[in-house]
């Protein structure tokens, strides 16, 4: 009963326009302190102090430190002029294909995904350069914006990935293994988006092709070499175990500073304070949701709800593949209407214990959850990549919502491959860690 009230209040407050962190926190704190919710022998002021303690404990974590650091590294790289370098280099590699520039933007998104852990940051960084360039080559603005948004969603699948950090924090699955598991799935996503780009470009005659030139490849590689070093250092450092994920994020900040200030000479020292504040504030909006959700999920757990839900689901006695399908479809729907961090924190504590019944490795499931929510970033009404991208392109959410459909279909097909053909997720982590 209390849990029903809690969720009803959550959705009502979100609908009324209260920020998500507060929509989670206000009903949870209100209900915990309402007389009668807990037995009268429980001390009221003790409950209040429990709330304070939960707020603190919710974010008192070394793993979560990676969130503001990857945000900062991403925004330094974005301002450091690397988007153009990555797009030029990618164009030299795949620009000869039909839809050459469109394919190059996807390849550049995959490189950028190896530096930043946030889909919104990737979309913003590449969109500002890629969308005007694509429109100049004759691609329609809606298609260009949808393509950039799709590429941006790869940002949380190819490591580093902030949602994977949060998933690991919530479940104690190794974040480094989640990163390794996401790498191949991210490549699959990139290839499927490129297939859509080629198909659309051939069919409608979008864009121009350029002949392949080894000299251009080498020249653009030289310009982009330092930028390309960032994913190598970050991923290499984490996967080889030289640094922890959080330390890698700190190293990435320093590497990004060196590239942006001394190599590319695009960022000045005096830009840095504003950038620092900006990235901390964006990180704080995510972390604040996590802190408030700690109180929310504590109350939900006190009401024995996770156990009830798990019992109800196991009572359906679905075969493992059927249960996995049910959970994946459910997450896709939730991902459409809910913001990623909130969806992760509210659902993962309930779903993660079900992996035994799905016959699936906990790490594999973690990657699938994050991929699923990445698709949610591409779908209206709540799709952060779409918001960012249509803002840059100056089009409406309706226009980009139609143009993104083929990319969403390709993404769902890739998700199904990753769900039922497990080696694509488990092969690389097994190779490195077992």
């Amino acid at each position: 009963m209390i849990v029903v009230l809690l969720f009803a209040a959550l959705f009502l407050l979100i609908a009324l326009g209260l920020p998500i962190a507060l929509s989670i926190g206000v009903p949870a704190i209100g209900l915990i302190l309402t007389p009668g919710v807990f037995p009268p022998e429980v001390d009221w002021s003790g409950l209040g102090q429990t709330v304070a303690q939960l707020l603190f404990a919710g974010v008192d974590s070394f793993d979560l430190l990676a969130v503001p650091l990857f945000m900062l590294a991403g925004s330094i790289m974005e301002r450091g002029g690397i988007s153009q370098q990555l797009i030029d280099f990618s164009d030299s590699l795949v620009g000869w294909a039909p839809g050459g520039l469109a394919c190059a933007v996807i390849v550049a998104s995959m490189f950028f995904a190896g530096i930043s852990g946030s889909a919104a940051a990737d979309t913003a960084a590449l969109g500002a350069v890629a969308i005007p360039a694509m429109v100049r080559q004759g691609y329609p603005p809606a298609f260009s914006a949808a393509l950039v948004a799709a590429g941006g969603a790869i940002g949380v699948i190819i490591p580093p990935s902030i949602p994977m950090v949060i998933y690991g924090f919530l479940t104690n699955v190794s974040i480094a293994e989640l990163f390794a598991g996401g790498l191949m799935v991210g490549l699959l996503f990139g290839l499927s988006f490129m297939a859509v780009a080629v198909w659309k470009s051939v069919r409608h005659g979008y864009g121009a092709r350029r002949p392949f030139s080894l000299r251009f490849v080498l020249a653009s590689l030289r310009a982009a070499l330092w930028s390309l070093g960032a994913p190598v250092i970050v991923l290499g450092g984490i996967l080889s175990g030289i640094v922890t994920v959080t330390e890698a994020a700190a190293v990435a900040v320093f590497y990004a500073l060196v590239v942006a200030i001394w190599i590319n000479r695009q960022l000045r020292w005096r830009d840095l304070p504003a950038l620092l504040v900006e990235s901390q504030v964006i990180a704080a909006t995510i972390l604040f949701i996590i802190a408030m959700a700690k109180v929310f999920t504590w109350l939900v757990a006190m009401q024995q709800t996770p156990v009830l839900v798990q019992n109800a689901i196991t009572a359906m006695a679905l075969p493992p593949w059927g249960l996995l399908l049910l959970v994946m479809v459910g997450l896709l729907i939730v991902g459409c209407v809910m913001e990623t961090t909130a969806a992760l924190i509210l659902l993962v504590p309930v779903l993660a214990p079900l992996t035994i019944h799905m016959g699936i490795d906990p790490m594999h499931f973690g990657v699938l959850v994050v991929v699923n929510l990445a698709i949610g970033m591409l779908t209206p009404p709540v799709g952060i990549c779409l918001f960012v991208s249509c803002g840059i392109a100056g089009i409406t959410l309706g226009q980009i919502g139609r143009a993104v459909i083929p990319f969403v279909v390709a993404a769902i097909a890739s998700l199904m491959v990753a769900s039922y053909w497990s080696p694509i997720v488990t092969w690389l982590p097994a190779l490195i860690y077992r």
């Binding site: 209260l18 709330v51 504030v281 909006t285």
Partner: protein
């Protein structure tokens, strides 16, 4: 300008300055942690300090995000139901936020005073110091919300 608006603006400037310092400090501490570990002399205190600084980013950064109205949220459904309804909804949400942060401020202050006897694991400082960021931030939130509620009509945000 009203005293509340002035206070809200001044506190936000201080919070932004602190965020900048905390962000820079975390980067330096963690970079030093890696360097010292490979130099064979691990820092014992760096993880604890940076974790507590992360808590400070969360709550202080939360107040700045509120001030900038950049909390992640949906456009409210109220916008389609006329200005009077919209104002009523806004008032309701502001009062709820105020009560919520009032409770957080009260109980986290109590918790902070109680924690004075406990010391942290590696630095041996009273746990009141890291905990204090929550009541302080909650009070900043309350001032921001009050400043919003008493602001002249055209300066008011939804």
């Amino acid at each position: 300008m009203h005293a509340l608006q002035r206070a809200s603006r001044a506190l936000n400037t201080v919070a932004e300055k602190l965020l900048m310092l905390i962000g820079a400090a975390i980067c330096l501490i963690l970079f030093a942690q890696v360097v010292f570990r490979y130099a064979g002399d691990s820092l014992g205190w760096s993880e604890e300090v940076s974790r507590h600084l992360l808590v400070a980013i969360t709550f202080l950064g939360g107040t700045v995000a509120y001030k900038r109205a950049s909390f992640i949220g949906l456009q409210g459904v109220g916008s389609s139901l006329g200005p009077a309804f919209q104002r009523a909804v806004l008032r309701l949400l502001q009062v709820l936020t105020l009560v919520c942060f009032g409770l957080i401020a009260w109980f986290s202050a109590a918790y902070t005073f109680k924690a004075a006897e406990h010391t942290s694991a590696s630095l041996q400082i009273p746990m009141s110091i890291p905990y204090a960021v929550i009541p302080v931030s909650a009070v900043i939130f309350i001032i921001h919300v009050l400043a919003d509620m008493t602001a002249p009509r055209e300066g008011r945000r939804t």
